[in-house]
């Protein structure tokens, strides 16, 4: 099954059997339905489905108003850059209702344009900064366990959030690898080992798992974590693993100068004394802004060398 198909099926089951909700956005029930993301999700007695106007700022306020008035709202959008037009609502409105006891949720379900060929839009593969200024949870889904978690348990939880899916992964076979341990706070452990602790951020799980396979061929095993809630995951298990293994590799393909993965390395310096650390992240080349394949390729041999493996 493809990545987008699993998300679509999970979303459909959740929305059509859930409490009173509104699924809305541009072309959510027309054309390709956001490339299949919302395909076949029809209105039911409890679900209203709206193909909306092109009024992104207003559409964020619409969702927050629905939530404030006790109705779940899911705003599905084809491109994450639409969020720039709604930043007033995501920030100021959210700040203004911080202390409310909410009974409904508002989820921005967005496709992150991370394939590179869109040029400037792809250069905004940078959800962390939007989530940071809005101070709302931002969840990324890479594989089946996170799809299940994000859509079944988070989609309609009270309060606002962003759930982000990757355009690059859209039509690839969904990763169905069983988690060693799925942590409810947005931290998933995908493999267990004793030589290195590998932490994947944003949409890097596929490359990370290939790297781990390459290390296995060298006889090295890894604890592999995916941080699916980039703002709120409790990273204590990661630190514990890194201290145990003596090596920490952090991989993040966010195009930001202040990635949340940096906090893992900066905020816990004392806790990682004696741990060999390698940090793989984007730097800002000029080609971020022009159409290109923009693949975040990992050099397995070089990484193994840096880690001393």
């Amino acid at each position: 099954m493809k990545y987008v198909e699993l998300i679509n099926q999970t979303l459909k089951a959740q929305l059509q059997s859930g409490p009173k909700s509104v699924l809305y956005g541009q072309n959510v029930a027309a054309g390709s339905c956001l490339g299949g993301l919302t395909r076949g999700i029809a209105a039911t007695k409890s679900l209203r489905v709206i193909n909306t106007t092109n009024t992104e700022n207003g559409l964020f306020g619409l969702g927050l108003g629905l939530m404030l008035n006790g109705v779940n709202a899911v705003f599905a959008m084809k491109q994450h850059d639409f969020m720039l037009l709604g930043i007033d609502q995501l920030t100021n409105t959210h700040y203004g209702i911080q202390n409310r006891k909410l009974t409904a949720g508002f989820t921005v379900l967005t496709v992150v344009v991370d394939s590179g060929f869109e040029g400037p839009q792809a250069a905004l593969n940078n959800l962390a900064e939007i989530a940071s200024i809005a101070r709302i949870p931002c969840l990324t889904v890479n594989s089946a366990p996170e799809v299940e978690w994000a859509i079944k348990t988070q989609l309609m939880a009270p309060g606002p959030r962003i759930i982000a899916v990757s355009q690059r992964l859209y039509h690839t076979p969904v990763l169905t690898q069983e988690c060693v341990k799925a942590v409810s706070n947005g931290l998933f452990q995908h493999d267990a080992g004793s030589d290195v602790t590998v932490v994947s951020y944003n949409f890097t799980l596929p490359q990370t798992l290939k790297l781990v396979d390459a290390l296995k061929e060298k006889g090295r095993s890894s604890d592999v974590f995916l941080v699916a809630d980039m703002m709120g995951a409790d990273l204590a298990p990661v630190l514990e693993s890194a201290r145990k293994n003596g090596r920490l590799l952090v991989i993040d393909d966010s195009k930001t100068l202040t990635p949340p993965s940096m906090a893992l390395l900066c905020d816990v310096q004392g806790a990682l004394d004696g741990v060999k650390r390698v940090y793989l992240r984007r730097v800002a080349p000029a080609d971020w802004f022009v159409p290109n394949a923009d693949e975040f390729v990992l050099d397995h041999d070089d990484i193994a060398r840096q880690l001393g493996l």
Partner: protein, 307 residues
């Protein structure tokens, strides 16, 4: 004068007296949060409070004290909120410009120009999802309606046929610039016609007439299942002239926020003698003499509330 008209008149007076007492506290530098008084805006707020049904919810903007009072907040609870005390209307957590009071029907208030409009569209859509017959009211101004969110909200409301009434309090000013200084005229009637949205214009601060007009409009919104815009012409009272060597008669300062330095409380708390002052308009009612007689005791009672 009917009993309801009598009630409305007393509510206008109560609102004015409360605001002048808040103004005295501002003069004493009691509050650290900025307070936007709404003297001159009382009539529309009292009318909306009288017209709304129990399920109807209201969304406000930075200048909201007149609605807080009209929707039942006590002077003391507002005073304490502005002083950021736990005994305030919102426990001292919201201050003035973002003050909401969901229990009284004021669901959300935003200090950001145009921010509350799309939120109101969501609130109205939620009512549709609940199959309710509530109407959502949202208050904005002639400055905020310059924001794109105003037009986006008209489009969203009309496209979903949501029952929402947008109240544009047109005081002609956006902080320190008049409409004529900052933009071309906007014909709201034509804009709403373009969207096929109902439009009503109110002027004169005659509260019973406002109530009748708003009741009819609310019913039209319910029956036809569509939104409406009400443009209310009014003036924010409390303007004054600041001594300035370049202006022999003093430099004109429009009231925006904080202290209205020349506004003070008297036994009859009028601020100007024409239709732009809702308190002055009360003098045209049959009950004017009784209202005049009531005002001093109301002032004393409300002052004691703060003692």
């Amino acid at each position: 004068m009917t009993a309801n008209e009598d009630f409305l008149a007393h509510e206008v007076l109560r609102s004015r007296i409360a605001q002048l007492l808040i103004n005295e506290a501002i003069r004493e530098k009691t509050f650290r949060v900025p307070v936007h008084l709404a003297m001159g805006h009382e009539a529309i707020a009292v009318a909306v409070a009288n017209v709304r049904a129990p399920r109807d919810q209201v969304l406000l903007s930075h200048r909201n004290i007149h609605y807080q009072l009209a929707f039942g907040a006590s002077l003391k609870s507002l005073y304490d909120e502005y002083a950021l005390l736990p005994s305030g209307l919102a426990g001292g957590q919201l201050g003035s410009m973002n003050l909401s009071n969901p229990a009284a029907g004021i669901l959300y208030t935003s200090s950001v120009l145009g921010n509350n409009l799309p939120v109101a569209a969501g609130v109205a859509l939620a009512e549709q999802s609940k199959d309710s017959d509530a109407v959502t009211f949202v208050v904005t101004g002639d400055g905020a309606m310059e924001e794109g969110s105003f037009y986006e909200t008209l489009l969203m409301l009309r496209s979903q046929n949501s029952r929402c009434i947008i109240l544009v309090e047109n005081n002609e000013w956006s902080l320190a610039t008049q409409i004529s200084e900052r933009r071309c005229p906007i014909d709201v009637a034509s804009i709403t016609k373009g969207f096929d949205i109902a439009y009503l214009r109110l002027r004169g601060n005659d509260v019973p007439r406002y109530v009748d007009a708003l009741q009819a409009l609310r019913q039209e919104v319910l029956d036809r299942r569509y939104p409406a815009v009400v443009e209310v012409d009014l003036k924010s009272l409390g303007d004054w002239r600041m001594p300035n060597p370049d202006f022999p008669d003093g430099k004109y300062i429009n009231y925006h926020a904080g202290l209205a330095p020349e506004a003070s409380l008297s036994d009859w708390p009028t601020l100007r003698d024409d239709e732009w002052d809702p308190v002055h308009v009360l003098l045209e009612s049959k009950n004017a003499a009784a209202l005049r007689a009531w005002a001093p005791s109301a002032i004393a009672k409300m002052r004691s509330e703060l003692a």
